[in-house]
Amino acid sequence: MNKRSFLLLFFLLLMGFFTYFYNYWNPPKQFWDENYHIASAQKYIDRVMFMEPHPPLGKMLIALGEVLLHPNKNIDKSSFDRTDYIKHFPKGMSFAGYRLFPALFAWLNVALFFLILYELTRNDWLSFFGSFLYLFDNALIVHSRAAMLESIQLFFIFGAIWWFVKKYDSPKSLKDYLILGIWSGLAIAVKANSAIVLLLLFLWLLKDIQTIGIKLKEFVGAGVYALGAAAIFLGIFYLHFALGQKIMDHRTYTASPKYQQIIKNHQTANPANFLVMLRDNLKYMENYEKGVPKLNLCKPGENGSLFIGWPLGIKAINYRWEKHGSQVQYVYLQGNPVTWMLGLIGVVLSVVLVLAVWIFGLPIKNRRTFEFIASFTFVYISYMIAVGQIPRVMYLYHYFIPLTISYILAVLVLYYLFEEQITKGDKIVWGSITLIAAAIVFVWWFYSPFTYYKPLNTEQFNKRVWFDYWQLKAIR
């Protein structure tokens, strides 16, 4: 990267500060899953044993933010240790600590997203404008400015993708495999659906087999990758066990008598007990997932949605609202329609291109770009197929991983189609890109009341209901 690239990156980070990070502690009221995640995070702070459906890393970082900033040091939060769902938050409680790392990672994701695009296209201006897709997506922003897991998860996924792209067509050392394994392990240690990053290893191996044939080094590399991912994943769980040093109010979850005895003996940090605690935690996670209700579209107020509707933004979720006379403030999970549409177009055109090449023998213009398009299309489709098999209720934010992949695809397809003109600085092409980028920013601003808790009356709200299937509903 040259000086200009760094300047563009700096400018993106500056904008990202305002879209993702600035004022992230507002509203100072909980919404969506914060009731769960803050309860879990506080237990780490107070060394209380608990079990949870998600792996521990995200909540550990949420707790770390509270420890670092400790804005609630004079507030009694001990009740958080006796519940998994906080019904009433203490008056005057600040969310600045708990939300610090989700907002911070979301902000840093801007840089990682730029680096991914830069590695893919080697064009800093295109990467700059392409980053607008992440930078100005209202759904990603609103969800990331809360004590929730997805922005942290995306940070590690972006890290894995960046490393995957960076080393894709160069000879890989075992250290490279290890680094990809570490990124993957960190992502999976936040949320299990990050396991989609395992496909990156598969794609690396496929590329190497194509280039140098089947070699022992590839098998060793895969082993090192698995080792790195497993070490991180299990290491995080070790930390989770070590921090759970006491049982609060007989809340043992599904801890076996042996596990309970380990806690009584203050032996949770003893590696010899690791397997017992891991087994009990994994069993709890499995049972918890079985207990989550299924999607019921006939249920009034159902927030869940079918995965096939996600690319169209189905369905928006009203996380929080507050009415003041005729004005209502909202925290609404609603995407930027322009970025979501560009992402969908990116996916559709990628599928068309891949099929045209593989079925109809269309000549490939740029082999490297085509391989990335095919790879990310494969990851996108794999995620959607996998998530379609999950019987429990799922929500629009479960689309965030493929959504960001679709953004990458949109930029790649544009680059594939107009590489020559982009490189030469063709005025018509760059004018068009600027117009598209301006549209992204304008629509982000237009939908920003949903993102930043700004008041709207019913008419102003309705102005934003461009499609009924989003199921945006004004509070009157």
């Binding site: 107009f418 063709d426 018509i428 598209i436 304008f442 629509v443 309705n462 102005k463 004004a474």
Partner: protein
């Protein structure tokens, strides 16, 4: 620059066209979802049952909405295309107020489908009414109106069960929803 072998189309202009179309779509989406202040609908929810148009109300909620056409289709809950389901099901009254102008003197036929009753006034004078409850049914009346500005007021009530009100006017052979402009009759933005 060409696409494929056709040599007919410069794909750079395709991208430019897409970028322009994107802005047109944004503009259209905003404009088409912007409520025009044509008809003022004042909804009053009563805690006391209402069984006819002049029954006294005990108001527990009052809400003012602006709508572009008198179209609340038959159903179990009050619904308008601009607002979706509005949450009103029983024992409420709506006052609709609008202004329109006629380019020339002539007969105008008003057609109201309602469940339950309604009363229509033009320039403060009663034109027609159905004061009691009924299933979704039609009432119509023709009036001769002078050239110039006029006011329209409709009071509608819903008691229990199904509901709905849809209003049309007819000038010549063409029928339009109340709120939408015809050839000689034009509604005024308020």
């Amino acid at each position: 620059m060409t696409t494929g072998n056709s040599k007919l189309f410069d794909k750079r202009y395709g991208l430019l066209l897409f970028a322009i179309a994107l802005w047109v779509w944004i503009g259209y989406s905003i404009a088409s979802h912007t409520t025009r202040h044509i008809i003022k609908a004042t909804i009053i929810q009563s805690s006391k049952p209402i069984r006819s148009i002049d029954d006294p109300l005990v108001p527990i909620k009052k809400e003012v909405l602006w709508i572009d056409k008198l179209y609340f289709p038959k159903g179990n809950e009050l619904r308008h295309p601009l607002y979706g389901y509005l949450g009103y099901r029983h024992d409420f009254v709506i006052h609709f107020d609008a202004k329109f102008s006629l380019a020339k003197k002539g007969p105008v036929r008003f057609i109201i489908y309602s469940d339950d009753g309604f009363r229509l006034k033009i320039d403060g004078k009663e034109v027609m009414e159905y004061p009691k409850d009924r299933p979704f049914s039609k009432s119509e009346k023709e009036v001769v109106l002078s050239k110039g500005e006029h006011t329209l007021h409709i009071k509608y009530f819903q008691g229990f069960g199904q509901l709905g009100i849809v209003g049309y006017y007819q000038e010549g052979s063409k029928r339009h929803l109340i709120g939408q402009d015809g050839e000689a009759l034009r509604f005024e933005e308020q």
